[in-house]
Symmetry: C2
Subunit: 328 residues, 2 copies
């Protein structure tokens, strides 16, 4: 079975780990968000790609959900001693090695997709089963900027600054995907969507993780025109994100912070949608959007619980296969 998933960072990585546990023999391709990539201290940092890579490869800081296990911070201490900016984003030493390899390869002319493949050769090559292929959504530079108003002045900050420094406490007036107009899908992305038996949307941030991937030229169309069932998992339980601050960006995007609201963002794509068991009341409104819906446990407490979620998603995909999508 070929599974293609569109993934952000923490939620994406954790879900994918459960997916691999559930179907170790599947051929999984992950299309990762790169719109929160950022240059820090001259290093090209790809937070979402790295979170997926570290999580699947066993190198992630488990409690934190991102960054490296057994991390040290000597470089960051020294950068602070030099007064180097920005100081609101702390890079760990082990993590920096990843960025050094990436930055050097990019400087040598390799596209991000080739760099990601090289980095994943360390982390994902030895996984059991068929393994995972991690593709950046694009090799072009796309950056999510958040327009905020401070002291009556409107200004745009990089998403990471809004998220990490401002903690999303200043409302986002607008979210702008800088560079998205000219970005083309990275090699293999459209092909992986076209070839998929199932397309999954893990419980990632719908606005700043899944949104940018779908905004890359051709990606949304490829998903919409794929013959494969498309199934997503709600990142919202009740009226709040399971983790992170997705509510802040959903509000900016004019989307209800509910499982139904998020499903509505992708109603042109979704065949199935999983909501949390406590959101059973959402099933009917989601199905009214023409999307098959089930209420199941959606808390990724551990890999087993997450594998069960992945099985539910695949089961729902199986249920819609030959169903509504083939009718359209």
């Amino acid at each position: 079975m070929k599974i293609t998933a569109l993934a952000g960072g923490i939620g994406g990585g954790r879900f994918l780990r459960g997916l691999l546990r559930a179907v170790p023999d599947a051929e999984v391709t992950v299309i990762g968000n790169t719109a929160d990539d950022i240059k820090l201290h001259g290093l090209h940092v790809s937070p979402d790609l790295d979170t997926v890579m570290y999580t699947l490869g066993g190198g992630v800081h488990e409690d934190q959900g991102w960054g490296r296990a057994e991390e040290t911070f000597s470089v960051a201490e020294e950068l602070a001693a030099y007064g180097a900016h920005p100081q609101w984003f702390t890079l760990g030493d082990r993590d920096i090695a990843t960025h050094l390899v990436r930055t050097q390869m990019l400087a040598a002319g390799y596209p991000l997709s080739a760099v990601t493949e090289a980095l994943c050769d360390r982390w994902l090559r030895h996984l059991p089963g068929r393994g995972v292929r991690l593709l950046p959504m694009t090799d072009d530079r796309v950056e999510t900027h958040v327009v905020i108003t401070e002291d009556g002045q409107s200004r745009a900050v990089h998403f990471q600054e809004w998220w990490v420094r401002i903690h999303a406490k200043v409302p986002a007036d607008r979210i702008v995907l800088t560079g998205i107009e000219s970005a083309t899908a990275a090699p293999g992305v459209l092909e992986a969507i076209a070839a998929a038996d199932v397309i999954l949307l893990p419980p990632s941030n719908p606005v700043v993780s899944i949104g940018p991937i779908l905004a890359v030229a051709g990606v949304r169309d490829a998903v919409a025109s794929s013959g494969a069932p498309v199934v997503g998992l709600s990142p919202i339980i009740g009226t709040a994100p399971v983790r992170g601050m997705a509510d802040a960006v959903l509000t900016t995007a004019g989307v209800d912070v509910t499982p139904v609201g998020v499903a509505g963002m992708f109603s042109d794509l979704l065949d199935g949608w999983l909501v949390h068991e406590s959101d059973a009341a959402s099933v009917a409104p989601v199905e009214a959007l023409g999307i098959r819906c089930r209420a199941v446990p959606l808390l990724m407490h551990d890999v087993d619980a997450t594998a069960a979620m992945a099985r539910e998603a695949l089961d729902l995909a199986e249920g819609v296969r030959g169903g509504q999508r083939n009718e359209t």
Copy 2:
């Protein structure tokens, strides 16, 4: 008193620390060798500048003589796990922060001299006394390459590779200063030589540290035409370098590995030369070159011993002031 010194790494840094102890009120300008600079993992590394900076600033690994105290190696471990090359040069985490700042500033268009000033703002600004100004010999790229013969094949390797990986065990057929023809002195270098009351050559490697500095256009002439006394300290005691592998490059340069041989390399410049107390027999041959010579303790056991060496050098400079140089 204005003192200008031409310095390599370990020997230079240690001598300068003694000099500052000896004459804390002197205005010291150090012209540092940059010909062993190297790009590693995309980072611009300036080993000699950093060794001087860390040594004078109190951040050096004392026993080792270079690199940072309390260093950690998480980045290097990870780079090795990625299989990143070269693996024969290990960068410490704290040290990497310096290279990140340098590399980013260079990429932003600042010349190495401005970068060095910015880095030294952390390390040298708070020194007691008049402090020290550290200038790179040039803002242009100069690299010392060593031509070696392996398996009958002649090839050039970066000096660092020959020194660190090969441990100078394969003889150097030739030493080439790549880029030296077009290199110009960094801002302040010629001025610091012209303005000096005393010019010192610390016990640095005469071929690959002092040699490249003097080879930058205008530097050797500026030293030769300076009215200030020029005094050096022999890096060779008996027939061996006090530290390092200077003998290997002296042989390649066709210079006797003796205090007299090294003095002869700079006989057009030197007014005074200090040899170690055990080399009293060298005094007469050095003086036969027209260079005032004294045999004194030259082992830099500690800062006090080194300060005594610096006093001897300044005393010798005072002795020749108004002496032979003014006669010429």
